[in-house]
């Protein structure tokens, strides 16, 4: 009995080793190790199909299911109302609310979300809307910053973005933002994790094909509808929550919210979506 078990274990181990070796040599021609110092090189991947072809596949597979669900009732809409109330609420040691600087219902922020994420000199890096909200809370209002992905933080982010609904995204990568854009692109193409995937492998090379019976999304329209409700979560979440979800599935190490790499990646993804109209909240599977 014991001998048989040992044999089985050895066989399984050997098979796994062979598969592991086989996989790594298959990718080795073009792979960049996750911790390679050469992290600036972008892997040369062929996009799988045109956006038109991707749209055809999307229609064929999902029809208008998500659009209909969003139209019938998106639970994330409640965050819009709560976000507006929060923007008017006085909080912190300086006795201010968002409305104190940005007008009642923060209406002066209309159109502002189209330029985010953007370079911020004081931060020395890329500023996203959730980070900006926390920065305003800490510095301008003397209040406690909100935990990322908490209801209030999402509600405020969603509300600020919704003030730009229907407007085209217009982020800039000129001047000081340029190196961060490059870093974001490198992060998007970086191979990482146990499966040695990168974001680009799925979303550039295999977009339009299926993974876990879901269509892998194309890069276009990737960021214009975030924060979004997601059926899988039963909750609303931010784009960076989605990053972390993918990274978990890739068996890659995840960073805390609003880490430098995630903010750079957000800049990269938002830049390649320049021109898409903001439509929050979204509805995703």
């Amino acid at each position: 009995m014991i001998k048989k078990n040992n044999l089985l274990k050895t066989f399984v181990f050997a098979a796994a080793l062979l598969v592991g070796m086989g996989t790594s040599s298959f990718w080795a021609g073009k792979a960049i190790a996750a911790d390679s110092k050469d992290a600036g090189t972008i892997e040369d991947l062929t996009p799988s199909m045109s956006y038109a072809e991707y749209q055809k596949r999307y229609e064929a597979y999902y029809g208008d299911a998500t659009a209909q669900m969003a139209e019938e009732g998106n639970p994330a809409d409640f965050l819009l109302d709560d976000g507006k109330d929060l923007a008017n609420k006085v909080v912190g040691s300086k006795g201010k609310s968002c409305a104190s600087c940005h007008g009642k219902d923060a209406l002066k922020l209309k159109g502002v979300a189209t330029g985010y994420p953007k370079y911020n000199a004081a931060l020395g890096g890329i500023m996203t809307i959730p980070l900006q909200i926390n920065t305003c809370l800490k510095q301008a209002m003397g209040a406690k910053p909100l935990k990322y992905e908490s209801y209030d933080q999402l509600a405020l982010t969603m509300y600020v973005k919704s003030l730009s609904n229907g407007m085209p995204i217009k982020v800039s990568i000129d001047g000081p933002a340029q190196p961060f854009y490059k870093k974001g692109e490198a992060a998007y193409y970086k191979r990482q994790g146990q499966l040695n995937f990168s974001c680009a492998i799925c979303h550039v090379q295999y977009a339009g094909y299926k993974a876990r019976s879901n269509l892998i999304s194309n890069n276009k329209h990737h960021v214009d509808h975030w924060p979004s409700y997601r059926l899988k979560w039963g909750k609303t979440g931010s784009l960076q929550r989605r990053f972390r979800g993918c990274l978990k599935n890739m068996r890659a190490k995840r960073q805390p919210y609003q880490s430098e790499e995630y903010r750079n990646m957000e800049l990269y993804l938002t830049y390649i979506n320049n021109g898409d109209l903001i439509q929050v909240p979204g509805m995703r599977m």
Partner: protein
């Protein structure tokens, strides 16, 4: 903290007298089945779901629904009403912990 009991009711914009209209409702509720385990504590998350929905048109109870754990989070429901009178339409959701959520809208057939 979950925000429970936020309600959205959609009624067609123009209603003719005697027309059968579709009322679409959405309520936020976790609808916990009682079978899920907390990933950190490994303990079962106790069941918490809406069990009873009643719809009143004017003073009469026109429909009632028994919901169970099969209904998912933030339930969306459509039901049909023959709009033969101008009266308030009230929908009451009750969950197993005694929470009661209701909303009333006016139905005004032209």
């Amino acid at each position: 903290m979950p925000r429970i009991g936020k309600i959205k009711i959609r009624v067609p914009r123009s209603i003719h007298k005697g027309e059968v209209i579709a009322i679409k409702t959405l309520i936020t509720h976790p609808m916990e089945t009682g079978f899920r385990k907390d990933k950190k504590t490994k303990k079962k998350i106790p069941a918490f779901y809406i069990s009873d929905v009643s719809m009143y048109y004017g003073d009469t109870l026109i429909s009632r629904a028994d919901w169970t754990i099969a209904v998912s989070t933030n339930p969306f429901m459509t039901f049909y009403v023959k709009a033969d009178k101008t009266a308030p339409l009230k929908i009451v959701w009750k969950d197993i912990r005694g929470g009661v959520y209701e909303k009333t809208i006016q139905i005004k057939p032209q």
